[in-house]
Amino acid sequence: MSKRNPEYDFKWCPGCGDFGVVRAVELALAERVNRLKEPIENTALIAGIGCSGNLVHLQEGPQPFGFHGIHGRALAIAYGVKASRPDLNVLAVGGDGDMLSIGAEHIGPQAKRNVDMTVVIMDNGIYGLTKGQASPTTSFGDITPTTPYGKLEDALRPLELYMALGVSFIASGLSSKPRELAAMITQAMDHKGFSIVHVQSPCTTYNDTYAALKGDEANGIEPLAVDIQSGHDPADANAALALVKKPGIPIGIIYQLANSVPMHERLEEARDRLKVRSRTVDQMLTALEI
């Protein structure tokens, strides 16, 4: 919440997973400010449209620069910010509808460029803000206002998608564990390249998955969310792929490309290597003299 506007009128529902995510973002940014002695204004927080995107208004304490734009385009805006200002720490946030349905086209290009930014996707398996329609991650068979006969589309497996697109850092977290989540976000921001932190952030109003994520060991119900075993080596792409292909949702750092070279370093390297010299406008004009 912007400090000067306590009347800002957006509220999340009680228990909404996004409360945990905003807390994690606050913690991670605070830690970064502390550690790098970098002002929080050096961070640009680019939000999508959805309950999740309202995170940009709901941060407590010191505020980064924020951008609350249009549905589905947070990553494309963030790309523009980072390409223009490699010195900024760029963080994009949004929901599963925002990032994986209408905005799905924007993941691949940023991954291929390895734009040095971090994306936090708040996956509640539903369209929250528009009142509970199915999203790409809604389970097959689920009944929602737009799937009255049960969802007839297979659920997207986002972690597999990120792997196939070559995202250079992939983590999977839980909104109910803000400290662990904060640590993941920190690591993602420190990663030199395109990083995604995919968060299970349940929607208490339209798709309450807290119980399913947690399971009920006593009654023999396996938890959906499973911590990644400590032996996992995120630098091992094959192991990472095997992890995301298993049933259930692995929680932890899934993949991190070793020696990742982000876009702006690639460009600098090429300009240096080719000794690219820029011409002034006057030089360009002179070359065209008759």
């Binding site: 002002p39 640009a44 505020q63 951008f67 609350h68 734009g69 249009i70 820029s278 004009l285």
Partner: protein, 572 residues
């Protein structure tokens, strides 16, 4: 002796028409003539009907030329299509391979390909044609030898061989023309021009203008006829801190320049109609969040995929109102290649000055044609940059109904939320009625800032009927205007590249007219329609052929419209 030479090379794609037309232009420009080229071709890589035209003149050139002094027909179909445009007494040079009988009139049959092969350079057929044309117009051989030299001297081992082959081809053409005994009026001596001139096309000149205005970042997705701007930027904009990106789509382009503008950079994209149609939401975002940026729309034929390689002026409605809601974007439309450079500077300045998106509206016919223009001095243009927040009160970004300083990310104490939902002064979302009133009026009131310093041309302002062309129709309209005035018609002349906001004094003058005639290349009469909504009795002369206006047609249509003045002219 004459002031003008108009030559058209017509045939199938791949026969070198464009090179020939440009070669003629370059050679003529070099000795001081004014030149203008024009080319038109289908949307494909090889083949299809292609023609290219060059006008050489001792005077400033306003149109590509209605009538041809020389037609070079590289195949039969080209002959049939274009022979009506050859003026009486003009000379036809035709590819004799493709003809069974000799066409009528002053004709020179040349088996250009066969002759080229004989010179040892089978690709020099078009140089043979150039030679014939040069001779017909009594242009000195040396001119073209120089051109060949400059074109083929590339530092490769066989340069001299290639050059010699081409000079030989040139001479073959010259000989053929001499043997024919025909000729067209020889050109007068070229004018003496004090300023340094350059030969340039609209897209390159526009790109250089944008860079002169301080462009930092550019994102674009390929699309005819805008691609050449993206390609130009790729190698031109490469200082540290600058960035050029090929986007994955126009939706990404617009979003990325919004990001660039937000980040404090001067940002631009270029596209054509289909891409512009995809940018509606992003442009609304820039308007709402108050992000400076420039979108270049190089118009082609519409709607939808339309006519990708033809010219039209039918995107004006879309530029003014690209998205839903109350938005009316500033639009600047250059009227010639020469105006592309300053227009780009103005567009960049406007974006910075009012802190919002600006449309730079140009068109295929300007984008791709070459013209000789005075070499501008980039330092002579005032360059504007946005008012920047020092941080102290940065997060009152959207306070009040006037322009406020722009907070640049990284500035301590200046953080705010750039917001495309309705918002309060620090960018937090709110839907209070009074806030929507205030912020809406804030967004529109900033447009007033753009009324400062914008200019317009006017002539014979006492006439009650005036002509007001826009964009690339300026040249043909001016040519027609000159003719009509010479005929004694009492007609006023107005022109501005500032379509919206239009200079208020101009608008006042136009409102006082009985009739304002707007020649435009579209069906709907888009500018005249907008002008009527602004209280001007404007009516269009429309053309929608994919080609620019001809002077002659505009003369006739203007006369007709003035006669029909009392009739019903509104097209709903």
């Amino acid at each position: 002796m004459g002031a003008d030479l108009v030559v058209r090379f017509a045939g199938e794609g791949g026969q070198g028409q464009v090179t020939a037309a440009e070669g003629l232009a370059q050679a003529a420009a070099r000795v001081g003539y004014h030149v203008q080229t024009f080319a038109t071709y289908p949307s494909q890589i090889e083949g299809g009907p292609v023609w290219a035209q060059t006008r050489v003149s001792t005077n400033e050139i306003l149109t590509q030329g209605d009538q041809l002094d020389v037609l070079v027909a590289l195949n039969r179909q080209a002959y049939e299509t274009h022979i009506p445009d050859l003026r009486e007494g003009g000379v036809l040079i035709y590819n004799s391979r493709d003809f069974d009988e000799v066409p009528e009139g002053n004709v020179i049959g040349l088996d250009a390909e066969g002759l080229a092969r004989e010179t040892g350079n089978p690709r020099a057929a078009n140089v043979i044609m150039i030679g014939a044309v040069a001779q017909l117009a009594s242009m000195p051989q040396q001119l073209f030898v120089d051109w060949i030299e400059s074109r083929f001297r590339r530092g490769r081992p066989n340069d001299q061989e290639v050059i010699d082959g081409n000079v030989k081809a040139l001479d073959v053409g010259i000989d053929a023309a001499i043997r024919s005994g025909y000729g067209v009026e020889a050109l007068d001596e070229p004018p003496v021009i004090a300023e340094t001139r350059i030969l340039v096309n609209g897209n390159s000149f526009l790109s250089m203008g944008a860079i002169a205005a301080g462009l930092d970042v550019f994102f674009g997705y390929p699309i005819s006829p805008a691609t050449t701007i993206l390609v130009f930027m790729e190698t031109a904009l490469n200082q540290p801190g600058q960035f050029v990106g090929q986007a994955s789509s126009e939706i990404e382009s617009i979003a990325a320049i919004v990001g660039g503008g937000f980040a404090g950079r001067k940002a631009m994209t270029s596209t054509a109609g289909p891409g512009l149609s995809l940018m509606g939401e992003g442009l609304g975002l820039a308007w709402m969040a108050e992000i400076p940026l420039v979108v270049v729309d190089v118009q082609r034929g519409g709607p939808a995929t339309g006519l990708p390689t033809k010219t039209e002026q039918s995107d004006l409605f879309k530029c003014l109102s690209p998205g839903h809601g109350d938005v009316r974007l500033p639009v600047i439309a250059p009227g010639s290649v020469a105006e592309c450079f300053p227009a780009a500077i103005y567009a960049m300045n406007w974006a910075e000055r009012y802190q919002g998106p600006v449309m730079l509206l140009t068109e295929m016919a300007i984008a791709e044609r070459n013209e000789d223009v005075t070499k501008p001095d980039p330092t002579s243009f005032p360059i504007e940059s946005r008012l920047v927040s020092e941080g102290a009160d940065g997060n009152r970004r959207y306070a009040g109904r006037e322009l406020t300083p722009f907070p640049i990310p990284g500035t301590v104490g200046a953080s705010y939320v750039a917001n495309a939902s309705e918002h309060d002064e620090q960018g937090d979302t709110t839907h209070q009625p009074q806030v929507h009133i205030d912020q809406t009026e804030r967004r529109f009131s900033k447009l007033k800032l753009l009324e400062v310093g914008s200019t317009y041309e006017s002539e014979n302002t006492s006439a009650s009927i005036a002509m007001l062309p826009w964009g690339g129709s300026k040249g043909p309209a001016r040519a027609a205007y000159n003719t009509l005035r010479a005929q004694g018609l009492d007609l006023g002349w107005y022109y501005t590249m500032f379509i919206h906001p239009m200079p208020p004094a101009l608008l006042d003058e136009l409102r006082s007219k009985d009739l304002v005639i707007v020649p435009e290349l579209n069906y709907l009469g888009q500018l005249s329609s907008v002008l009527r909504s602004w209280g001007v009795n404007a009516h269009s002369i429309n053309q929608y052929t994919g080609l620019p206006f001809k002077e002659g047609l505009l003369v006739t249509k203007t006369q007709e419209m003035i006669e029909a003045k009392s009739g019903r002219l509104v097209r709903a």
